[in-house]
């Protein structure tokens, strides 16, 4: 069963217009928020236990608390880069409910004392960009953005910035670099963005879903939000289900929802004649779960972390027994190799190395020591770089090779896939 806290009216076409949004309670929460003190809003968000919905899962209220308590101008940046493979929830939110995001941003901007915000949308999302721009126009025209919002004295400006095709711009400082007009390369931390971010000013970067979630939290209060989920994983989340399932799509459920219910219930289960083999629970950077682990897993931060994986962006990628794990790993290593920004050496060289070794195996040229080599290289890419792309590239390699080692060993020994029976090159060329 879905818990449609955010997505209740997404099925209505009119919900994306200002009029349609207002018809279903839109901007009432903003009215309420403007009567509160900014610190009250931050406290409410803290109390709700809301954690970043983009992938890192950092407690949002705590992040806002890192801002300096002075009059320095600060920025609120919405990260709508959505590049994590398997994730497509932010796109849904922007296409169906741009005003929900805008309302969430105005409230958040008010809470943190920001007067300017940007929505950084990935360049390929031409349609969502146009929808959001249209919504911004409506909001400005109705006095919901700009100077003296709703007569409250609050000034807040919002604009859209279009990316140009780089996964690394989903990293918060990579996004800031891109917004500043540089290459989208992440910056050294410290200093953290809350202290020195966009143009060296205090900056808060939050995901689309996180900012939209501020609306129900302020509307019904933190306690109501905490009714969903667990103590450490409060609220609801949109999970993007894809891969080998009958009904892929975005589903909003309470956190701690059982993964098997998501796949077999809402997702419609496996295609006829197929069995579940593996699940990547939180976007391609999350370590893969075996079918047996997937049976036991609940979709919350603690459970998945305890299993050695992570909730991440909540992109659930389902792999059935018709797929070759070596082949799928090759798809992922190609992705990380293509997307590494190239700044730090372990990631720049390591992603290339991993990709070459996996493709060597796929082409039938694998050596027995290559399997240990993959594990060693990936292990030494973790925790050594400016940003987490290196870890994100290493984790799939480590989890795939460890949990499905038999397939890798078969491929190296026999020069062909255990599952498909043929070599990668014959599989699709």
């Amino acid at each position: 069963m879905e818990t449609k806290l955010l997505t209740e009216f997404y099925h209505l076409d009119e919900f994306r217009t200002l009029a349609g949004y207002k018809k279903h309670g839109g901007y009432e929460t903003l009215k309420k928020a403007l009567k509160m003190q900014p610190q009250q809003i931050t406290d409410e968000v803290k109390a709700s236990g809301l954690r970043g919905r983009g992938g890192a899962g950092f407690p949002t209220g705590m992040k806002w608390g890192f801002l300096p308590k002075n009059n320095e101008p600060r920025y609120l940046l919405c990260n709508a880069d959505e590049g994590e493979p398997g994730t497509f929830k932010d796109r849904l939110m922007m296409e169906r409910a741009p005003h929900q995001l805008i309302e969430g941003m105005i409230i958040s901007g008010y809470a943190i004392g920001s007067k300017k915000g940007y929505i950084y949308i990935r360049g390929e999302y031409f349609y969502p960009i146009s929808v959001v721009q249209e919504a911004l126009k409506e909001a400005y025209a109705a006095g919901l953005l700009g100077k003296n919002i709703m007569g409250s004295g609050l000034d807040f400006d919002l604009d859209v910035y279009s990316g140009a095709g780089a996964y690394i711009c989903g990293e918060e400082t990579g996004m800031i670099s891109s917004l500043e007009g540089l290459k989208g390369q992440p910056k050294l931390k410290p200093p953290f963005p809350a202290v020195q971010g966009y143009l060296r000013k205090p900056t808060i970067v939050n995901n689309v879903e996180t900012l939209a979630a501020v609306v129900p939290i302020i509307k019904d209060g933190a306690a109501a939000y905490k009714k969903f989920g667990t103590e450490k994983s409060a609220g609801t989340k949109l999970f993007s289900l894809s891969g080998n399932v009958v009904r892929p799509g975005n589903y909003e459920v309470n956190l701690a929802y059982p993964l098997k219910d998501l796949i077999y219930g809402l997702g419609g289960g496996m295609r006829p004649g197929r069995k579940l083999k593996a699940v990547i629970p939180g976007g391609s950077s999350a370590p893969v779960l075996t079918a047996e682990e997937a049976e036991r897993a609940t979709m919350d931060y603690e459970c998945l972390a305890g299993m050695g994986s992570m909730l991440g962006s909540g992109a659930v990628i389902v792999i059935d027994d018709s797929q070759c794990m070596v082949d799928m790993l090759g798809v992922l290593t190609h992705f990380y190799h293509h997307e590494s920004c190239g700044q730090c050496t372990p990631c720049r060289e390591g992603t290339g190395w991993l990709n070459k070794v996996v493709h060597s195996i796929l082409e039938g040229r694998g050596r027995l020591q290559d399997i240990e080599l993959l594990l060693k290289v990936a292990d030494n890419m973790k925790g050594r770089t400016i940003c987490a792309l290196s870890d994100a590239a290493a984790l799939p390699v480590l989890s795939f090779v460890t949990k499905f080692r038999d397939e890798f060993e078969f491929y190296v020994r026999e020069g062909r896939s255990k599952v498909r029976g043929v070599r990668h090159a014959e599989m699709h060329h």
Binding site: E124, A164, Y167, G181, L182, P248, N250, F335, C341, H428
Partner: protein, 157 residues
């Protein structure tokens, strides 16, 4: 020598003052210039933008070569980008891409003789639930089969 049209120049000039720092206008300017240069960016384009925006060529060149959406080689009128990342690959998108290439009789990143199509394999486009899918210029086409994809391509004008 590449020159922006009056309209394009106007757009670039407005981008220069739209954001907090004029450097942020590089990405929008390159996008505008690429549209006016038949879908790709050349050294002349970078040179022209450097003059118009008063930004060193090395900075614009860095941004140009960093992002995937700026093409370093010419592309056909319809740039067909098929996602081949994991969720789409699980739904046979790579076979779909191969099929399109075979039908149009070109290899990846090449242009058909009539200049109409280029097929590229790209990374995740955020449409995993409707896999396999492709992006043609600015439009997403989702829930494809090899036949439906070819029909879409043949219908493009």
């Amino acid at each position: 020598m590449f020159q922006l049209s009056t309209e394009g120049l106007q757009k670039v000039k407005s981008e220069l003052t739209r954001y907090e720092d004029k450097m942020s206008a590089i990405i929008p300017a390159l996008a505008i210039a690429q549209k006016e240069n038949k879908g790709w960016v050349t050294d002349e384009v970078v040179q022209h933008l450097s003059q118009v925006m008063d930004i060193p060529t090395s900075r614009i060149n860095e941004v140009f070569k960093f992002y995937t959406m700026f093409n370093q080689k010419p592309v056909g009128k319809f740039h067909v980008q098929v996602c081949t990342n994991i969720s789409c690959a699980l739904n046979n998108s790579r076979e779909l891409a191969d099929h399109l290439c075979k039908e149009l009789k070109i290899g990846f990143d090449q242009i058909t003789e009539d200049g109409k199509y280029t097929i590229s394999r790209v990374e995740c486009l955020g449409s995993c639930g409707t896999a396999p899918m492709m992006q043609v210029n600015e439009t997403y086409h989702e829930n494809l089969t090899p036949e439906s994809a070819m029909n879409i391509l043949r219908g493009l004008r």
